[in-house]
Subunit: 409 residues, 2 copies
């Protein structure tokens, strides 16, 4: 049964009038199946959507822990989740029966009537999934090495790690939330949610064609991000290839998440010139301090009138630039968040939920973050309070397959 | 200086190239001032926007406490906030200097480049503002009587009440968040934020013309809400009139906020028929259990085949209906929220941030909630965990005036 959320709504009214049934038949007509909404991203394919596909406006992210050690139950969960994710990304209800009175509806219903809103649902497997509970110890990729402790880390274990993660992105936050909630529901008895994070504003672009969004410090974020349309760059930096020791990960990518609290109040008291020195960029235009336009190449050798480097040695942009890191790059896909405030200080509990994709965290995020954690001028205003590392398998090419099936081959 | 956020962006690029100034001049040309964006709601007027104006998609709500007892400082704060709110609602930067290097920028910048997104900013005064600190004890309206304790209340004082509140609604959550953050910043030294709440999904309609949104239980919310276009109903139920003992409140309204946690997991296990009995409505269509269409009038006398009331006696809709409450109605304007999850139980920390406007809470919200708290079948699945009561003064008719100026006359 494939009941489109919009079709279901119309069908539902008819049902209410008639008293019974006929709903599934209405909604699953070929005519509906071929008329895909304009704001629908394909779920099936060689790659998982949500990595190279354009970032949507809103995020709902969740990490889950298995509460079983039954390998078959894990497989069944991944099958059930895959089918549900494919349906939700198509703007359909969670598969199953949502109309029998004497049963809980299969779909929780808050997204009925809403379009797909470009929903993408991306899964990742945490290091702990390979700890032996499921006979997968031999499948752990070397690149999925636990992240080291970085200087100044203030990680909350309750908001870090997890056996599985789901990144749900959509242009409508109700649609994104609906996804992580319904997957949690479908997994009851097999998984529990470990932590979750809503991101209310996209804070990274992946294309020079789109306007670069701003983070909560008021600066453009993602100006020098990898352009996902560049297949060469994606293969070089993001997609796992034949170099992997684990064949099942080829075509996938590694996700690092960091919950980065921003000390909003301290930042807002800082001089504009200091803020710009911290990033190495002009605030409004986003141009490097040595340039006039956002996409001008930074001149790291340039000196200011006082003889000092025009882009300070501890500027975030200098330290993170691929020119200064042997060409290392990562694909960022972060979102601004706020979870209210700290009642003791009255300060906003807000920041950046950083997400980065890469071919090998050991060679990309880890050295970059080691350098930033030790030297970045931005550290005065931020604090890493949560962390996650996940292996995102390749895509599900057809509806008969499921996420991570190669793990069990 | 009126720098439009979009104009500022263009101006900023020019400045970066030229090295200095000229920005304010560019952005404040009459041509810009007259070309109002399509998604802009007027700030100035006899009524505050954000009550009768159409509800936007997203909410940022904050309560603030005064940290001074200086009456003049309170007046100055209200003036500063009014001017800043008027600017932000017009899609302009927070007034002041955002371009001098050796000073903190007046505007925090994360909304630069974004449109007004139909932003409305609505202020309310809590009962504690009238406790004598500011010589306002004689100005407290009788209708601003502290809410009583209701059965089953589980209110967290840290997430309740406050001297002042700001309701910022916009179709872009970044724009809404920017408003409460910048007002907090402008108020530093005079106020601190007491609590805040982001609402990610509109969960009430105020017009039969728009599609009724769904709450996190998957039911349509606001089907029988007051239509704000109906001036007669608004004057009868929402706007304070000549009956008020306080002239300064005439043309205003009283806001009651309730943070209502929804027990998502328990609800999701409930049978469809039970869910529908709890609300008294069909889930998908939103029709009353005695009707076929969402807007059909409920038949509270109708009996089912088994002789029981077709709409159960403890159904939420029956208990809340104006037919069963001597015609009492309130204007709802709630939003779905989620603040992650409870790490002990693994359950979602999510629900409805309920907002209601009315002429007199003593005669409207209080008797309604007393009845619901004692009898509503929904109580098995919800919990009131935060509460606020605020007197929202009339609008600011001209740019020379400020919020609540009549309080100080």
């Amino acid at each position: 049964m494939k009941a489109s959320r919009r079709g279901f709504l119309l069908g539902g009214v008819a049902v209410a009038g008639a008293g019974v049934g006929g709903l599934a038949g209405h909604a699953a007509t070929p005519a509906k199946a071929t008329a895909a909404p304009a704001d629908r991203v394909a779920f099936h394919g060689a790659r998982q959507a949500g990595i190279a596909t354009p970032p949507q406006q809103r995020l709902a992210f969740a990490a889950y822990d298995l509460v079983t050690t039954d390998r078959a139950a894990l497989q069944q969960l991944l099958k059930t989740w895959t089918d549900a994710a494919a349906a939700m990304c198509a703007g359909q209800m969670v598969p199953g029966d949502s109309t029998t009175p004497a049963a809980p509806p299969a779909d929780t219903g808050e997204a009925v009537g809403l379009s797909p809103a470009n929903l993408t649902i991306t899964i990742g497997f945490g290091p702990s999934l390979f700890d032996g509970r499921f006979g997968l110890a031999g499948k752990r990729p070397a690149a999925l090495a636990d992240l080291p402790h970085f200087p100044k880390d203030q990680l909350d274990p309750a908001n870090s790690n997890g056996d599985l993660c789901i990144q749900a992105c959509a242009d409508d936050p109700v649609v994104a939330f609906h996804a992580i909630r319904n997957l949690a529901r479908l997994g009851r008895g097999t998984v529990t949610m470990r932590w979750s994070q809503l991101g209310f504003g996209k804070a990274a672009s992946t294309s020079a064609a789109e306007e670069t969004p701003r983070n909560l410090f008021g600066f453009k974020d993602g100006t020098r991000n990898i352009e996902t349309a560049d297949e060469g760059l994606m293969n070089q930096h993001v997609w796992v290839g034949s170099e992997s020791d684990q064949a099942w990960m080829r075509g996938g990518s590694y996700l690092v998440s960091r919950r980065i609290r921003m000390k909003i109040e301290a930042w807002d008291r800082d001089y504009l010139s200091d803020q710009e020195a911290v990033f190495g960029r002009h605030k409004v235009s986003g141009a490097p301090l040595t340039g006039a336009g956002e996409h001008d190449s930074p001149d790291f050798a340039a000196r200011a009138a006082d003889g000092q480097p025009a882009i300070p040695m501890d500027a975030h942009m200098r330290l993170a630039a691929h020119e200064n890191n042997n060409g290392v790059r990562i694909l960022r896909r972060g979102y601004s968040y706020t979870d209210g405030m700290f009642s003791d200080s009255g300060e906003l509990n807000a920041g950046l939920f950083f997400i980065a994709y890469q071919k090998d965290p050991r060679a990309q995020f880890v050295p970059l973050q080691r350098k930033l954690a030790g030297n970045d001028a931005l550290n005065e205003y931020i604090e890493h309070v949560g962390s996650g590392l996940f292996a995102c398998p390749p895509g599900v090419p057809t509806s008969g397959d499921f996420w991570g099936s190669a793990l069990f081959a």
